[in-house]
Amino acid sequence: MISFDRVSVTYHGAAHPTIRDVTLEIGEGELWLVAGPTGSGKTTLLRTINGLVPHFTGGLLSGTVRVAGRNPRDHPPRELADLVGFVAQDPAHGFVTDTVEEELAYAMEQLAVPPAVMRTRVEETLDLLGIADLRGRPLRDLSGGQQQRVAIGSVLTAGPRILVLDEPTSALDPTAAEEVLAAILRLVHDLGMTVVLAEHRLERAVQYADRLIQLSADGMARSGDPQALLADGDIVPPVVELGRLAGWEPLPLSIRDARGRASDIRDRLVRPLTAERRGDGPIAMAASGVSVRYGSIVAVRDVSVDLREGEVTVLMGRNGSGKSSLLWALRGVGRRSAGRVLVGGVDPASVGDDDARRLVGLVPQAPGDLLYLETVAAECERADLDAGASAGTTRTLLDELQEGIRSDAHPRDLSEGQRLALVLAIQLAAAPAAILLDEPTRGLDYPTKRRFAGILRTLARSGHAVLVATHDVELAASVAERVLVLAAGDLVADGSPEEVLTASPALAPQVAKVIGPGWLTVDQIREAMLSGVKAEAGR
């Protein structure tokens, strides 16, 4: 269906090709998963399939791509719309019309499909994706998962045989991600659609993939059977890591595969006696009765929570459950309809911006919003001035968070992880007692996420109270010492990660699903196996 023969893409002005010598043969009706670290060319690879590279982006493409007999080099993307459906990363940015039905019809209007055919195809697509009840709804009022399914539907109506999706679940909470993946699987199984999918969170998708393409940072690609490819390499989901640790052959890719074989290690696990206990640091931030209302909509209802120094607290909940509203209300910049927040006896909402950020620092969901200068060095100097810190403070903090960020680099050219580190360093320069982070790991690969988890723990050890809002359960499992769950604005759970994260399947990390309640991360299992071995030897 799709074949790549020694394909390389070099963008204008780039010293090295973004993807290099990629050779692939994708069969009809297969589901291929594209994995690789940030910046390894996943999006570029996907865009060569429908001709956006090089027609839309520019750059030099060498080698041959063939898609169902057509060469995308000779056909611009619009001529391939009836063959390849392409769904970009942020569906809301690609919407042209206002309502679900019109959006589904848009591609067909461009292809001059007769109105009667349009009506039936829209109906089929609505049913296929389970969005029939959204038919007339305005696109802006939809949730993230709904928008993603509408975006998929909007390319399906053109009748393509190939569907290309760029990180379809990265912005979604676990439940919404399940819905989107289920819809994609239905297309593969029921319609024989060929699907190529890029995804950072392998734990969500790898079990469904027929084939895996692994891109490395230098643009080289390996492709083949997921189990074989995942046996080495450092971008693997927790269940595979667990399988490697336990020496299972073949490697499990899904919970189901792993669960059956987990019994043999389950008995060997000895829970470490000196589990770190928390909840004894002094209270850094005391919030009581915080509510946020927008008109008639209640985003946060009467939330009271104390954050302690030295503790990483994770705030979880569905998309739209009020996590961001709560963070902004705690910081004192966002709307707060009721309640008070005290940090060192002062409410950050009652003092000026300069004083407030010495009490609480917030890293917003789009960290780039805070950056406006030409170089990293200029941003750091400005941050020292703004915070009244001694010169070089921010740069030192940045180096502690992440080494190797060049001073003369433009902040826009940094990778997502580097930009996050820069904004975090800027906020830390004011030495706040509490630091809040809104959805920090969106778009980060596993190694970056692991490093970032380390950063959060270091921050807490150095005496900050840390609150992270996220729907990434694996991140929560690896850093949380306390978990809060918001549902429709109410605080519905507050407890240790062992209790809260294993209580519901939507929040449970893979390790908990495989081994059982009480276990959260592969590192825990590794330690427990080691102490199990020691216990055996000591007997």
Partner: protein
């Protein structure tokens, strides 16, 4: 045309053209009068219809904004008149300290005597402008402006698409500015306008590029194998035609130009434009999904505004003073029978037009909230 009117009508989207004609009719009515009572009545009728028949969607939630713009217009108009008032009328209400100006700015005065006549004149004038703005706001809230653009002839499809995209960019830009301004406070709020402008521009650019990529990938701009020669011929026709039409129009309006020259040039120019649009229209091939029907409700809406205008004109011919209350001498404005009835007739679509589908569904699922009771959101 077997459609029922009124509350029994099946919920559906009304043809956007009908709402626009209705609103333009009322705007014309408003422009014909300075009677504040009549203008107030028009605003009331427009607000009533919007409240009763707007869709529960983003474009249906903006009416409050237009009301506020209207208020701003009135306040500005009256405020300016108080400070830069001319000598008009004799009923002095109060006297502001006057700033002496040099002779060469004769005719402009700052401060001085403020008369009731001049304030009222400014108020009437401002209210008239505000009413016109509110009428257009009503059209925007009742009919999705993007659906109106779909009515453009095929030749103007690209123009329509560009305007559509621009229309969606505006609210996104506003959101993005609000978000960045809020984020800036996290960093002491310094950095000047640049600190807001740069991230906002970057955001807008990113969005535009993603939108363009998405449109391209979904087949926007597929050509139906048009030859370059024909494309050039079409463009030539359009340019020549527009040029001819402009010259002709100028000649017609300019009294010194020889009259026989104007009309034919205008005619030939317009004919060329029509031919150009026709050939261009054959170039791009599109189909339309669910064109809005023009049925009984649309006729009723257009008829209501037509009746209003007719009654207004009739009323004006009987009693011209009723549309323009006298300022010198000061008189209390009164409502004449015919114009009042006319404006009230224009309010009939509030019951005659079918309910929009989403609002109807909402009313069904929550029977306690009747649509009439729900308020227009600001």
């Amino acid at each position: 045309m077997g459609e029922r009117l009124g509350s029994g009508a099946t919920p559906r989207t009304v043809h956007p053209g009908a709402w626009w004609i209705w609103a333009i009719g009322l705007a014309i009515a408003a422009s014909a009068t300075t009677n504040p009572l009549l203008l107030g009545l028009i605003i009331g009728v427009v607000a009533l219809v919007v409240q009763a028949r707007r869709e529960d969607a983003p474009w249906g939630r903006g009416f409050g904004l237009y009301l506020r713009v209207g208020l701003l217009i009135v306040v500005l108009r009256v405020g300016l008149r108080i400070f830069f008032g001319g000598e008009y009328g004799t009923t002095v209400l109060f006297t502001l300290p006057e700033i002496p100006l040099p002779d060469w700015v004769a005719g402009i005065r700052i401060g001085g005597e403020v008369t009731a006549e001049s304030i009222l004149a400014a108020f009437y004038d401002g209210l008239r402008l505000a009413t016109i703005v509110i009428c257009f706001g009503a059209a925007n809230s009742l009919a999705n402006p993007k659906r109106l653009l779909r009515l453009l002839p095929n030749a103007l499809y690209e123009v329509g698409a560009a305007v559509t995209v621009a229309l969606s960019m505006a609210p996104q830009l506003a959101e993005s500015v609000a978000r960045v301004r809020r984020a800036r406070r996290l960093r002491s709020g310094r950095g000047g306008p640049r600190a807001v402008l740069l991230p906002v521009l970057e955001d807008a650019l990113d969005r535009s590029v993603s939108l363009a990529a998405a449109m391209d990938a979904r087949g926007y701009g597929r050509s139906a194998g048009e030859s370059a020669a024909r494309r050039r011929a079409t463009a030539g026709l359009l340019i020549l035609g527009l040029l001819g039409a402009s010259i002709g129009l100028y000649a017609l309006l300019d009294a010194s130009a020889p009259v026989p020259f104007g009309a034919p040039t205008l005619g030939v120019g317009l004919a060329l434009v029509v031919v150009g649009i026709w050939t261009a229209g054959r170039r791009t091939r599109h189909t339309h999904y669910r064109d809005d029907p023009w049925a009984a409700a649309e006729w009723a809406i257009v008829a209501s505004t037509g009746a209003a205008l007719a009654l207004l004109v009739l009323g004006a011919s009987i009693d011209p003073a009723s549309l323009h209350p006298s300022l010198v001498p000061l008189e209390w404005p009164t409502l004449a029978m015919l114009p009042t009835v006319g404006v009230l007739v224009a309010g009939l679509p509030a019951v005659l037009a079918p309910m929009p589908p989403l609002r109807a569904a909402l009313a069904e699922s929550t029977p306690t909230v009747t649509p009439a009771a729900s308020t227009v959101q600001p």
